[in-house]
């Protein structure tokens, strides 16, 4: 069994509760141990980097320092794309920019911490696809999700700029969809921003971005959109009504976490699917029993 240091991040205990639940359930089946980082702090998300750069690296580095002490040599795994990006960025910057490193080191030092830079930061999707492997996922599938048309939405932060998947045409999620017997639909908006960070500041723009993603999935005939990030999920799901109101559309596309889709294929529970706002249509409902 592989053990990873798991960094949940704030959203996972709030809007992304379903992600946390389903991940826990599915991890058991996949035989991976996620040891939650003790005393973790907020990653600062992507926004903070633009406001106070050094400080945001320092708070990110605090998590890495803790991880190094608690699980030396273990990869740090995040499920939220923003957390993944933030931690990864700090991890890379510390190696690349000695000046920054000095300042972050002194900040850590003040708290009695130290980070050697020995860890790798990874996204849970990468762990599932590369460490566990598609063959194993297929083998663990007890009910093939045959006939289910899935739009795989990777979002922007997971694949840019440190993608383990192609940043323009991501393919890993589609491969996973195939592994559980479902059908990926061509999805041109797979790596476009959902507008998540703008929903509070520039709602018009954000709604338009969300609308385009939903529209693309609908055009492709998707029964469901799967995501890898609590922010994307919330944005696409919770704002569908607002989008419908603003654009006169009538979307009702369920937005699942990819872990929930795996859970359906493995026939395990709990997956937190009932937490979603957009309700499953018949194609998806068949598999929720």
């Amino acid at each position: 069994m592989n053990t990873y240091t798991y960094y949940p991040g704030c959203s996972m205990s709030a809007t992304g509760k379903a992600y946390a639940e389903s991940l826990e359930t599915v991890a058991k089946v996949l035989d991976i141990r996620l040891a939650e980082l003790d005393d973790w702090n907020c990653c600062g998300a992507t926004a903070y980097f633009s406001v106070r750069e050094t400080l945001s690296h320092a708070i990110s580095a605090r998590n890495l320092a803790l991880a190094e002490a608690q699980g030396p040599g273990r990869d740090v795994v995040a499920a939220c794309s923003a957390c993944y990006l933030g931690l990864n960025k700090t991890n890379k910057y510390l190696k690349e920019f000695p000046e920054l490193r000095k300042r972050v080191d002194s900040a850590l030092d003040a708290g009695g911490l130290k980070y050697d830079g020995s860890l790798e930061v990874r996204h849970i999707l990468e762990v599932v696809v590369k460490d566990v492997g598609l063959e194993k996922v297929a083998a663990l599938t007890t009910r093939k999700l045959e006939g289910l048309k899935v739009a795989s939405y990777a979002g922007c932060q997971m694949v840019r700029p440190y993608g383990f998947d192609d940043s323009e045409c991501p393919v890993l999620l589609d491969n996973l969809v195939r592994a559980v017997g479902a059908t990926p639909v061509p999805f041109a908006m797979a790596a476009r921003c959902c507008g998540g960070s703008q929903m509070m500041t520039n709602e018009d723009a954000a709604l338009r971005m969300t609308k385009n993603i939903l529209l693309c999935a609908q055009d492709a005939g998707a029964d469901v959109i799967i995501t890898t990030c609590p922010l994307c999920q919330m944005n696409l799901d919770a704002f569908q009504a607002k989008v419908n109101h603003a654009f006169g559309t009538s979307f009702n596309i369920p937005i699942l976490f990819f872990t929930q889709l795996l859970g359906l294929a493995f026939q395990v529970k709990p997956l937190g699917i009932e937490r979603g706002v957009a309700k499953p249509g018949p194609a998806l409902a068949r598999f929720i029993s």
């Binding site: 192609d166 908006m189 385009n212 693309c216």
Partner: protein, 679 residues
Amino acid sequence: MKNPVIGVYVCHCGSNIGSVVNVPEVVEFAKGLPNVAVAREHKYMCSDPGQDVIKKDIKELGLNRVVVASCSPLMHEHTFRKACESAGLNPYYFQMANIREQVSWVTTDKVRATEKAKVVLVGAVNRVVEHDPLFVKSVPVTPATLVIGGGVAGIEAALQVAASHTQVHLVEKEPSLGGHMARFDKTFPTLDCAACILTPKMVQANTNPFIKVHAYSEVIEVSGYVGNFTVKIRHKASYVNNDKCTGCGVCITKCPERGIPAEFESGLGNRPVYVAPDAPQHGKKPKDTFGKRPAIYTPFAQAVPNKPVIDRDNCRYYTTGKCRVCEKMCEPGAIDFDQKDWIEEIQVGNIIVATGMKTFDPTPMKNLGYGRIPDVYTGLEFERICHSSGPTEGQILTWKKESPKAIAIVHCVGSRDDKHHRHCSRVCCMYSLKYAHLIKEKLHNCEVYEFYIDMRCFGKGYEEFYSRLLQEDVRFVRGRVAEVSDWGIYPEEKGRLVVRVEDTLAAQVRRIPVDMVILSTALEPAENADHLKHTLHMSCSSDLFYLERHPKLAPVSTATDGIYIAGACQGPKDIPDSVAQAGAAAAQAIGMIKRGVVEIEPTTAHIEESMCTGCQICIPLCPYTAIRRNEEKRIAYIEGALCKGCGTCVGACPSGAAQQWGFDDRQIYREIEGVLAAK
């Protein structure tokens, strides 16, 4: 040895040296150096008056050593050696101190620049004392030229050299001559038909008694030296006996294997066939021959030489053991399944490299959709779509065989892009304009968009061509394309392609629906350019094209004497420039052959017999196997004609018996002492 009497000459090089290095100070300093009889400065040492100063001093002051502190020896060593020689001094009693490229141009601090100039000068003055008189050897030139690459540049070079009744070997790796130009329909800016001007040249080359065309062949080894190269050519097995083959083409029409993507049609044959969703389903799949060729083929109808070759990897006989249809159909009995690759050795005096370029594969630029969206084409593919003998017979049709209503042409794909190639590919703006014109000519109502960064219409008649296109209702959008998407948001975009671009003149992001996208891809060095570089010991510039000896003054020479470059292998260029370079290279080759002799640098290695202990360390080190053992005397000796003067044996000889003329231990020691003399 006579006492050394040294003349030192320091050049201002206009202001190139003089504005940074304090030349008068260096001259004063030189006057105080041991053995220096005279030190002078001059505005331009390399000019005739400058050289005359040296000549005069040699004669009047009896100088027996000369040092010039000026530019790089790679630039003017030859000039000054000649000057010494014409004044009766052995040219190797000369040494150059490089105070321009390696001092004044790389330093801003005048004091430190002047100090370094002095130090470098002391090195040279010290060294020249130890110089020996050396004598250039003349060797006869083999009166034949090898041209590698049968594109328009190679063909032109071959024809020019042959015009002087010199034997030419023209080696082309493909089954036919022609290169890229053979694939074009029209050529910018005159829009003359490519085949009409190229085919006659191809035929001339093939029938010229002084040109031997080695098609479907590659140069695998080159040895020897300027004037006398030995070249090994590998003739790839074509499984067709060219002496018997009449070129009737029956084999090609009868070959049952017809689905191999044709190299000549670029990537057109790689696309799946379009099947309409409502097409009636007959059990059998429709036969797909679009952009495909049989297993026995000539690349195109006018191929020269017109002899087919069998593609062994795809031939049914070789893959399944059964077929041999072509053999049965061939009346003259030219098919020979037992043919093997064979190697021919030829002797030539010099070599012209004209291996051209290839185009950038845009697949990695996922945002542009090439390889994923069938209606995204490269320029070379569109060239074939436009071509009357291409797979669409010159009709501009989309993948679904519909007439496009709007076409986007995207410039600089892979060029001027830090992620791919930093260079400008020079011809793309122009061929993009050519496409716009051809599209407008064939489809009057089709909208054409050119997405450009800058329009670069540099050649004769090119700007005029651009102006003309501006009148032809072509839409020019300045901006780098962000994305080509096959999913449209708005009703007018549905089922079409959408080009997303920042229009930097209108200062807004635009979405433009089109039906076809042409990517004007970068030009990059030919497939095996790197391999050939090693075979010929050439160098490359940072864009990986072959490096010329001097960008302005020796654009077709290379650092290796007797090897010239022409055409797009030296850097992206259009046909007129390629042809001009081919002529220039041919003139150089002919010049050498007409002279009949070449001079070989005397800076080779030799063995001091009395010091050689016979340890044989040097023997395996020599890359040219020039060192042999004299069994009788139990010592090593160097075969002068084979030695190229790298000095590796000299560097390794434990007893100091191996020495290199012009670079022997004494000389380098004195130079080391010199540059470190100052305290």
